[in-house]
Symmetry: C2
Subunit: 111 residues, 2 copies
DNA sequence: GATTCTACATAGAGAAACTAGGTATTGCCA
DNA sequence: TGGCAATACCTAGTTTCTCTATGTAGAATC
């Protein structure tokens, strides 16, 4: 987050759920994917991502499964759960409400 | 903030600068004004507002001036400074950048 | 006379993100 | 083959925000 990184706060979980709502992903992949999809804007730090993934798993919103590659390496793929999907929908709604309220203040309609 | 209150983080300063960029305001008025303009969405707590105002003043973005009412009561009006105006413009830009990036993830264009 | 509204303030708790460090494997290049 | 970059995971400690809870005090209302 080059500038205005404080804006991240409160949105990390939504972004992660959103990605995993589309397909299971592992940590390193998530970092790369978020950077790519946001055209370089989101550059998650590991100290942000991994604790967030563990938090989401503890909350039952995602579930991690170790997968052994033919190379012998281990990757931990996270899958979204039903509860996670429901939370994703909820969070998307909250984000839209928040956006609406912000726009009322930040770009007040003349009148 | 009824739900999704974490979304506030990092945006309090922008909202405050935005209001004071239009006219000087005092604390209690800011709380009421934000609630009114956001159609009830923003309900700032005092424990959020006053520390934020002091933070902005320490940073030289706003300046508080006590004003004595005819009733004998004191109100502390905060005025935005030149530095505050510059920061407001900057923060608005950061907000738009953030919004753009969020939309790329949250509502990915099919393709 | 009591409660509510106006108006300011802070201390402490909790949560979230970052800094900075650690481990280990793989692949590349000189 | 020796070193470096990339891949891939992790956490302890710090900082920063926001909220909870509380305090003070005058004005208005009931």
């Amino acid at each position: 987050m080059p500038q205005g990184r404080e804006l991240m706060k409160g949105n990390v979980d939504s972004l992660l759920l959103c990605l995993m709502g589309q397909q299971p992903m592992y940590g390193y992949q998530i970092i790369k994917e978020l950077e790519k999809r946001s055209q370089g804007y989101f550059k998650f730090k590991e100290g942000t991502l991994y604790p967030a993934l563990h938090r989401l798993e503890r909350a039952g919103l995602i579930q991690g499964k170790w997968q052994l590659l033919s190379s012998g390496q281990q990757r931990k793929y996270y899958h979204i759960t039903d509860k996670g999907l429901a939370t994703l929908v909820e969070k998307r709604g909250q984000w839209l409400d928040f956006l609406f309220a912000m726009n009322l203040i930040i770009q007040p309609s003349r009148g």
